[in-house]
Subunit: 374 residues, 2 copies
């Protein structure tokens, strides 16, 4: 059996290992927290810091392949492992580009991939030169995640919220829709593309509120988005699973917002909604099997379960029975012992061929299920 | 989080733990083989003999609930645990009846549940009194499993194949179809019934060849089978998931063949084919959540992958890429290192609304995928 390692033990690792159960593979996982959501689901658990060279190198040495569930890992160790013949998903050259939002934006520019206008800022002093560029979004180059490391700057007085480290300042786009496309790239460059997803964000938390697949977008926008997404992953030149997040505007333009070089929240609905889920797909790639079928079994909607505002401590799920009583609904709880405001604690997928039913149940779930503490 | 234990670490435990990943639950597993299919997927693994009182009692003490993936467990320890307040699925009183094929047959008789005619035999000497009863099937009372402990007796010369221990001799039924119904029973006695499954057996191995859900049976037979299956589990008076295997004959009669008081091979298609799988359902019961939705998402067929004749040793999957290339097909390999003839190594589920497509792909899979050794 092939030996395959995962760096990080959160919900993405958890769902990856859930999917690995269908295949003959010996699984390894490294994570600092031995009680993390994925820690108990592998053959071999290593407690270690995924940002440290020595830890990552020692973990990966001797494995057939290694993947990540978060970008914030030690890149140099992955480069060393790749040089020594361990297959790394995504390839470190792609991870290096994506991990740093400054490099990511310059990559789009180099390859003429449509994206919002931007300037690179080195410091807050530098940032203040760009008053004329506002309103804009300031994104930290390294270390941002899940809405952290992002600030909206509308006027001069907002500059104090900016980052005093290399960052990008992106011109505010008049967004009509946010969509995401999951794409799989095999070891010989073959691709498989999932139907696009409509992402509806909560503006205050800058976190996904719910998503619907397939996205309702005009045909022209659909073709444009697919072509751009394929182009992005081709230029990254790496096998793996990628999420390409895009904006559409009222003129039918499509702009790349961000790429994730891994399984992604915007693909969680594929567990029930598609013949091959994003997690299944990554195992197929890493085990050198054929790519899976990305077609929808049914349209889906997905609601993230976030820790409710004002509650920190041992997690309790209020209203869970109501949601488990719904007929075509799938509950995924990540088994995190502690909740805190905005923490991703689970998600719920709804399957239906009726869009009204999807939206109705999204609403029901958002108003009945809460993650709180005693 | 509730602490729930599983006795046995084979593929049923593996798929149970795969399903547990959706819920907050602390999982325990006891199994003698630390490399068994399910052994690495729990929070707490105990190496131990599930047929020994002390091992099972020590394992179960302190858990909230305990379940089994095989009937051959220490019943007395489960009785003791139940008496001390551990919830046992199925209840030991039900397990005691089902575990022993003699008791099981007498249970049907007591409750006027239709089943084939039978006599109880205490020994081979006793057996030979029943020549007029042939052709018949001799089933060992205790310890039979997956076609072992079953002999077809057609004539006097076959008596030497019979069992010299308490057994049942069942009159041969003129079988039209073999069907199975999975039923879930909640903690307060509420039931949820899955659509029936057509089971097509390999006559030489007495093992399932393939199955199709929903079964194509006349409406009257359908209602009769459902009514009988519900009656059986009501009389067993235990929460849990049950598989009721039945024969139908050319006259439209339905006879109960056997019950399994646990998740069962005849329910594996529910992982993809139904909104709540049999595995999901058992967790819902053990975690005291509402029962799930048993409706089909789509009709399915299922092929078991058995170790090919003539091969014993490290497992290799010949033709796997061909099957992974099929569009609406789901491969489940159980991660067993060693194959041997007839060993259950995995299964493949096919989803389609077209019966011809289901049968066509069953055939393709049976002729292209083989578990062999080097």
């Amino acid at each position: 059996m092939k030996k395959i390692g995962i760096l990080g033990g959160g919900q993405l690792g958890r769902m990856l290992l859930q999917s690995a159960i269908n295949y003959p593979v010996e699984t390894y996982l490294m994570e600092n927290d031995a009680t993390a959501p994925a820690a108990h689901l592998c053959h071999h658990f290593t407690k270690g810091d995924i940002t440290q060279f020595d830890a990552v190198y020692a973990f990966g040495k001797g494995l057939d392949a290694i993947t990540i569930e978060i970008e914030n890992v030690n890149l140099e160790a992955l480069e060393q492992l790749a040089a020594e013949g361990v297959k790394v998903y995504p390839h470190p050259t792609a991870l290096k580009i994506i991990k740093d939002k400054v490099k990511q934006k310059l990559f789009y520019q180099t390859h003429q991939i449509p994206t919002s206008e931007f300037v690179v800022t080195e410091s807050t002093a530098d940032l203040q030169q760009h008053l004329a560029f506002l309103p804009a979004v300031h994104k930290i180059g390294n270390g941002g995640y899940d809405g952290k490391g992002v600030q909206i700057l509308k006027q001069a007085s907002d500059f104090e919220k900016g980052f005093d480290t290399p960052s990008v300042l992106e011109k505010m786009v008049d967004i009509k829709q946010e969509i995401a496309i999951i794409i799989a790239v095999g070891n010989t460059g073959q691709t498989a593309i999932y139907p696009p997803v409509d992402m509806v964000f909560d503006p205050s938390l800058n976190l996904l509120s719910y998503q619907i697949c397939p996205a309702q977008i005009p045909e022209k926008v659909f073709w444009k988005a697919e072509a751009i997404a394929i182009n992005v992953v081709k230029k990254l030149n790496s096998p793996g699973v990628f999420a390409v997040e895009m904006f559409t505007d009222v003129h039918g333009n499509v702009l790349v917002n961000e790429i994730a070089p891994r399984v992604h929240n915007s693909g969680h609905h594929t567990i029930e909604g598609n013949f091959s889920s994003q997690f299944d797909m990554l195992w197929r790639i890493m085990l050198d099997y054929p790519l899976g079928n990305t077609a929808n079994i049914s349209p889906t909607a997905l609601v993230n379960l976030l820790g409710d505002e004002g509650y920190s401590g041992p997690a309790q799920y209020e209203g869970l029975n109501d949601v488990l009583n719904m007929d075509n609904v799938f509950v995924h709880l990540y088994g995190k012992k502690e909740t805190k405001p905005g923490r991703k604690m689970g998600h719920v997928t709804i399957m239906s061929h009726e869009k009204q039913e999807l939206l109705h149940k999204v609403n029901q779930i958002k108003h009945s299920l809460f993650v709180r503490s005693a």
